[in-house]
Amino acid sequence: MKLTLAAVIASGMVATSMLSACAQAPTAPPGAEASEASEASQAPEGSQAAEASPVKAPGQRIEVPPPPLSDGVFPCSFCHNEDLPPNRTRRPLVEMHGDLVLAHDVAGRLWCVDCHDATDYDSLHLAGGEKVSFDESYRLCGQCHGRNIRDWTAGVHGRRTGQWNGEKAYLLCASCHSAHDVRFKSVTPMPAPVPPTRAAK
């Protein structure tokens, strides 16, 4: 009884926070061209010009390029079907997916089925249980990363390409941030400028 009550309250709270997270501003027609997806963070080509207001309505689907899934893993249900019952126990994965580094947060609280839906591995799921497709994974990230999802919807978080006076071109969170091993790796900087010297060329 107490457990059910707690679950109801929890899902109610999660639903409210999700709704408020998506409650940005009014309408825009979907229709931004999706561009080539890539696993690394490269610039997609520019999108179409000047449509109506680019701001998104609450809960409105945002056009994003296809998610950058690794080769050969999708559809997950190829393996994760009736023949492979879900095992929700936290454990290091040995037989498959052992190459994955899961380092989403420093305290190591999250583990696979917190995001992946154990009953349907072709989907992800929100905290309340609602399934989201990989194409809408930003909704999942946005549950916890509220400031970032707000900024992202406004066009302020993440790489900006396209037209400043037209439709914003959005990238999926996963296009730049690996969902599993999240922290950006260091990169080699491009060369420093040449210091000025007295010698003429």
Partner: protein, 426 residues
Amino acid sequence: MKTVHLFARFVTGSVRLILRGNNLYWAWVAFLVILIGSGALAYAHQVHTGLVVTAMRDQVSWGFYIGNFTFLVGVAAAAVVLVIPAYVYDWKPIREIVVYGELMAISAIVMCLLFVLVDIGRPERFWHLLPPLGRLNFPQSILAWDVVVLNVYLLINFAVVTHILYRAFSGRHYDTRVVIPLALLSIPMAVSIHTVTAFLYNGLPARPYWNSSIMAVQFLASAFSSGPAILLIALQLLRRFTRFDIQQDAIDKIAELMAYAIFLNLFLHGTEVFKEFYSNAEHVFHANYWWWGLEGHRTLVPFAWTALTLNLGAFILFIVPKWRRNWVTLNIGCLATYAGCYIEKGMGLIIPGLTPDTLGEIYEYFPTMTELRVAAGVFAIGFLLFTLMLKIAVAISQGEFGDQAVVEPNGAPDGPLPEPSALPGH
């Protein structure tokens, strides 16, 4: 028709005059011509390759040329040290020699304009500055003001000098209705050329070393310290090598005025030093770079202390009347103040103002050989112009060169001398 003939005689006579002189004269002229030739070759190299042959870069985008320009504007303004006693106080001893101050002003302005010309990236586009063909951003840009006041000052001095000398040449007295107003106008113009040049630097908040209210006053003080120094040396040379009799009173008075100017210059530098080091705000690093060096970069430090020593030494020599009147110490003092002001107004103003640059980077600028050669060439042009003009002017005022007088090869005038009242100073 008569005018044209007279003018033609003036021109041909002048040419003959400047082609006649003793060995010392020719040695001096040859020296200057060699410098001009070297400068011309160096400048040709600069035009061919670009300003990259100088040591200026984005971080220190003004250097030796603009430093020399700034210093020479002061020298030009220093003619006013003669004009005020001569025309405002009508003091005879200086009245006789005021023309030579104005000749120095003309030579100095010509050098200033040449230094700007060799510094800009597209010298063939200089006419973009001159209305009506060009566009002068007046009154917003202080550089536009500088173009106006420098050229007006040049024109005034040129008009006064040519009027006086040509009239003397043609045996007539100069027209006071022309000369007096123009000469009086040249006083505020002299102040204005150096004030406007100071404002060039003063008005840039991006450069805190320059953004100080005393700039204009300090420029004038150093101008009146260094400009008359050259004049004094030139006048003494004239007294020595020509029959020109310059009264000792005139020289004493100029030296006395210089003493006050040198004091003011030192005092104002002292106030700058106090403000920078006592306030000890972040931008003291410009002053630090000049006096002590920064992070091991010490290129300008010897120049800083040399300039200070020269200026202090000059002050001591000038402040004691006995030493002012002794021609040895006077001339040492003149050279000292000239060199001291040259260093601190030239390199000592421009480079520390730009080092470190606006983003904190230290690029050590020091002029390249090309810059030094071009600058020497420009100085040589100015000195040559001054020498030649002096030769003609002195000859006219001595009565050796005039419409009624034709100079004989042995130097004695032939024919009646012009009326004494026709000459300046009477």
